[in-house]
Symmetry: C2
Subunit: 356 residues, 2 copies
């Protein structure tokens, strides 16, 4: 997702970014949590490792194909659909998928305390927070372009990696070893290197306001991700589909507000689904599935795995694009990929005890 | 040394490269060897760590000032001296300095078996090998420019880092831990990243002949460095000034050949020191001292430390150049510096047992 050169990022970026970074998703499976907080299924350590691997690979592949869909849709021409309605559709689709999964669970296991849809104010009161954080971040996104151009913004977005690591440490109180911290800084440097192009140096002329906003946005995005992990892992026995259902309800609400503010006239005059094409539908489906994958990664792994997963996806996308679209890879890309690969290696060998 | 943009590298590069990479140097001190092979002074482990630090810092600073002298001399205009005579002068100056150091040793300790200048065929027979390897490499340097332009060559020179690591492992049979290997690859990627500029992608169009020659040159350079370390450490009790004296004698001889082949007419018509300026003399002095520092690093540390030292020097040079010459640092430079810094950190925390 990070790789594409976003000249016209207004149209596609909002949707892709919104959803890959929206850390809640619909888990189609309702197997037990395998986090340190997990209660059910404590004896299936090997199984949990398998689940973790599967959801991580799924997220990586979905994120890669997302970026490829974006390039494909650009090739096919411009689409004039409203980004806000597409975002709303993604939330609605995820809601639907989560209800379907819940329905299956109810059929097989019956309605229990953990998988009933009804909720308490205490439980649901924190659920709007991630959606609200993303809304603030998406609002800021419109203002930051007064100080930063789109390629520089792509570079600055890599600050998300650092902010996620720092907030993961502070809020979730999980430890990374020193080598894993080194690996995390390398991941950020490597991703940025892989995206370097001749105009990248513009980012160094970013005024202080631009830097401040970029840092605030990175913190908001990182905070939303870490907060969602905290919500999902707080009640490990609670069915994740119920948790996600409520997260998505608020996602839909906030996107409804965005439609009213930004695209009210367009939707009124041309209709909600104006400008949708087959590729648009594919992208919405992809984003919904990516959201599900993100949610599963939060359940079975954590934000750190999510960051690695999407970073590796960025590299995969570039390599696949060489074959699909005849892209040329730059020397910076090779260097960045090398650094990212070593970062992945160091992260795995640098584990503190048996934390995960 | 690696940082400067070498458009006109023919004039300055030969001298700087020759000497920084010439792994023999004149040690002004004649304290005991502190390598694992060291025999004398076995009880001063802390002292040896201090010596190692001092020579490493000296090499780093000398290498930095070398590159700065090169930029300064470029600013001051072109000098038309013969590079081969400058190289010869450097070897001669190092020879002189080594004799002075030996003279001091003889005065204080008397002539012993270890510090006598006379040698046997068995001892001296391997000494021409590093000088010969460098001569072959310098010859190849003239041919590689048929396939590679100067900026691309600067990029390809970073292969030296990898070749040094590999040959260090194979020839000296010293182990690097897996994390240290990862750090070494990062060092190479980081240095290359720091040197990226908009025209760097040319290097990807390098024809196969260019790659082969670059790899052969990297292997020759790495082999010469590792071989010199082997020579210096083979007889740990032997006075290093004697060892260096003989290394430099062959360095002078090979440079004499180079003068005859390349600059015979110029020297005959215009004189040996034609075109020398104050800066030229400063550069010769700096190269001679750098050679001494390299030698000391070989004695008290190893080729790996030398590679790190010159890499960090490259970054220091760039930073100092910002203040001295108003250079602008690129984003790639910051990213590369970050990666190099983490590589240094990983190298130090990733030590296998107590290998050094």
């Amino acid at each position: 997702m990070e790789y594409r050169r976003v000249k016209d990022q207004e149209s596609y970026d909002a949707i892709s970014q919104k959803d890959i970074e929206s850390p809640d998703g619909r888990s189609l499976s309702s197997t037990a949590a395998t986090s340190p907080l997990g209660t059910a299924g404590g004896s299936k350590g090997k199984n949990s490792w398998k689940q973790k691997s599967i959801v991580t690979i799924a997220l990586t592949l979905l994120t890669s194909s997302q970026a490829i869909l974006i390039v494909w849709s650009k090739r096919a021409g411009k689409y004039e659909y409203s980004v806000t309605t597409a975002n709303f559709s993604v939330e609605a689709l995820k809601c639907l998928l989560s209800l379907l999964a819940l329905y299956r669970t109810w059929n097989s296991q019956g309605v229990t305390e953990d998988n009933r849809l009804s909720t308490s104010f205490d439980e649901v009161s924190v659920y709007p927070i991630p959606a609200a954080l993303y809304m603030v971040k998406n609002l800021l996104q419109y203002y930051i372009f007064a100080y930063v151009d789109a390629p520089a913004y792509q570079i600055l977005k890599n600050l998300n990696i650092i902010s996620t690591g720092v907030l993961y440490r502070i809020i979730l109180k999980k430890k990374l070893s020193e080598i894993q911290w080194a690996a995390f800084i390398l991941l950020c440097a490597g991703c940025t290197t892989a995206q370097l192009n001749p105009s990248s140096d513009h980012v160094l002329q970013t005024p202080i306001q631009g830097w401040m906003m970029a840092i605030v946005m990175a913190l908001l995005s990182g905070f939303a991700g870490v907060y969602t992990e905290a919500i999902i892992k707080k009640s490990p026995s609670r069915n994740i589909n119920v948790q996600n259902f409520w997260l998505y309800i608020f996602g839909m609400l906030f996107n409804l507000v965005a439609i009213c503010v930004q695209d009210f006239d367009a939707v009124m005059n041309k209709g909600f689904f104006h400008g949708y094409s087959f590729i648009t539908l594919l992208m919405i489906l992809n984003h919904a599935l990516s959201g599900i994958a993100v949610s599963m990664v939060m359940k079975y792994a954590d934000n750190i795995v999510k960051v690695y997963s999407t970073s590796v996806a960025m590299l995969l996308t570039a390599i696949v694009s060489v074959f699909l679209f005849g892209f040329n890879l730059s020397l910076a890309f090779f260097l960045g990929s090398t650094v990212v690969s070593i970062s992945v290696y160091l992260h795995s060998v640098g584990k503190p005890q048996q934390q995960k």
